[in-house]
């Protein structure tokens, strides 16, 4: 609780000293209930951004989450369907962006902190079972450059996971030694690509992804090398079409040999009508070729169709009805969804949505939002999810979104 108060004070201080800078703040109090249990919690997201000059932007983002932890759950209760594996976390990001017409540079440090007592055990395949995360540090570097018809980009991430290792002894988990409370795992992710614009619609590219597992075993290395073609065409003011086909060779001891040669195909068609109706159809296919059996396998298919009807009811012009369908048979991702946003009166809006998944869940949510102006609002939301064959959960939020 002391740590929580310190964090809250720090955030308030940041808020006060940053007067005059663009602030975005989202604070939500929530009540989670499932199977006669009820927990109170809150989530506070705060983002501050300032332009140091016309090319340089500094951005700080923080997200604090806290939830009461109730250990007296029924035996058949599954924590796995709560949207978290830790009840007290903080995520901070500090980034600097430098951009000109021809170059882009991003330097970023991010930190995820977990309160160990309120964090469930995880499995990390590179480390083993029964670990508890303490902290994750990420150092990111991204660089993009354009030269005539060529463009180049690089992204690197250095990741450090600090964790506590526990041993299972007579069915009781124990920290084996002092050293086990403060262990580290390191990973380095690199990706680079070069592309050539054949004309304004067509682009050829080649790319390399290299993950270096910096731990002693180094078993989780991965290299992807590939390339492809991208086509973008804005047909007219109302419609556009895009396609992307990419091949990559996957080299890793931890990925099945069947998936050594992969092809990813993406198609998207967007259409807008003058009557306020807009929508898109997108399709993604992932297939792989196995050298040994000389056979093509499907990894995943996703077909998504979405239509939105926007209608003018007020000055904010935000009322709409959205209907959509996603077909993803390989990974139980097939679902249909409806979302309706409606102006009620005097800057009050309601949003209702229903998601019906064939294999996983059905969810309903209802939100009522009062806009002080277009940048500041208060809202109340109820979210009910029924995970099939497991449990039902209900979340009630009271929140505010403030941009100043």
């Amino acid at each position: 609780m002391k740590k929580l108060l310190i964090l809250l004070s720090l955030l308030l201080m940041v808020n006060l000293i940053s007067a005059g800078i663009t602030n975005w703040s989202d604070l939500a109090f929530q009540n989670f209930s499932s199977k006669n249990n009820s927990n109170f919690g809150f989530n506070w997201k705060h983002e501050i951004e300032t332009d140091l000059n016309s090319n340089l932007i500094l951005n700080f983002k923080n997200e604090l989450f806290y939830s009461q932890k109730n250990d007296e759950f029924p035996a058949d209760y599954s924590h796995n369907n709560e949207m978290k594996n830790s009840y007290f976390t903080n995520y901070s990001t500090l980034k600097m962006l430098y951009s000109t017409d021809l170059q882009y540079l991003k330097l970023q440090y991010s930190n995820r902190w977990f309160n160990a007592d309120d964090t469930r055990f995880l499995i990390n395949p590179g480390i083993g079972d029964h670990i508890k995360k303490n902290m994750i540090h990420n150092f990111d570097l991204q660089y993009k450059a354009n030269m005539n018809k060529f463009s180049f980009s690089y992204f690197g991430k250095y990741r450090n996971l600090n964790y506590e290792q526990l041993d299972l002894e007579n069915e009781i988990l124990r920290t084996a030694s002092q050293d086990d409370q403060n262990k580290n795992e390191y990973d380095l992710y690199n990706s680079a690509d070069i592309s050539y614009n054949v004309n304004q619609n067509l682009k050829l590219f080649t790319e390399l992804y290299y993950k270096n597992d910096l731990n002693a075993a180094g078993l989780y290395d991965q290299i992807n090398l590939g390339g492809g073609v991208e086509y973008d065409n804005i047909i007219n003011l109302f419609s556009s079409i895009s396609a992307r086909v990419r091949y990559y060779n996957n080299i890793s001891d931890k990925i099945n040999n069947e998936q050594d040669h992969n092809v990813v195909t993406q198609l998207r068609y967007t259409r807008r009508f003058q009557s306020g109706i807009s929508g898109f159809v997108s399709y993604v296919n992932r297939s792989c070729y196995d050298n040994e059996t000389a056979q093509v396998y499907r990894v995943s298919n996703m077909l998504k169709v979405q239509a939105k009807y926007s209608y003018a009811m007020d000055h904010l012009n935000s009322s709409y009805l959205l209907l959509g369908f996603k077909f993803n048979p390989e990974n139980d991702g097939t679902l249909g969804f409806i979302e309706h946003n409606q102006y009620i009166f005097k800057d009050i809006y309601s949003t209702a949505d229903i998601k019906y998944s064939l294999d996983l869940f059905t969810s309903y949510s209802l939100k009522c939002e009062y806009f002080i102006n277009s940048l500041q609002s208060f809202w109340v939301k109820n979210e009910y999810t029924h995970f099939y064959d497991i449990q039902k959960q209900n979340l009630i939020f009271f929140g505010s979104t403030l941009i100043f």
Binding site: E63, N80, N81, E82, M83, N85, S86, T89, Y91, L122, I123, N124, P125, K133, N138, Q142, F155, K157, R159, L161, S191, K211, D213, Y220, D221, Q222, S252, K254, I255, N256, E258, Q259, T265, R268, S282, Y283, V284, N285, R286, S287, C288, V296, Y297, R298, V299, S300, N301, M302, L303, K304, P329, N331, D332, G333, L335, F337, K355, L360, F361, F387
Partner: protein, 81 residues
Amino acid sequence: MKKFGLVSVIIILLILFISCDKVSDPEYHIDKSACSSCGACIGICPQDAIEIGKDGKAVIDQTKCNRCGKCIAVCPENAIY
């Protein structure tokens, strides 16, 4: 006629892709056009296999992922496929 040809090619490709055998180890990926970077998948992943990538969207480390599918259930944007 041109449109009809294009639609026919797409339908034939779809049928060919869907009629192939399914790979023995499923693999999950993030639809970056739909991902809102909310972090719910990072919060639920029991393998510590998801992190924010270069464009600010979630990325799955395929060497760590054990294909449990929990991220699919919690994603509010249905961006995992």
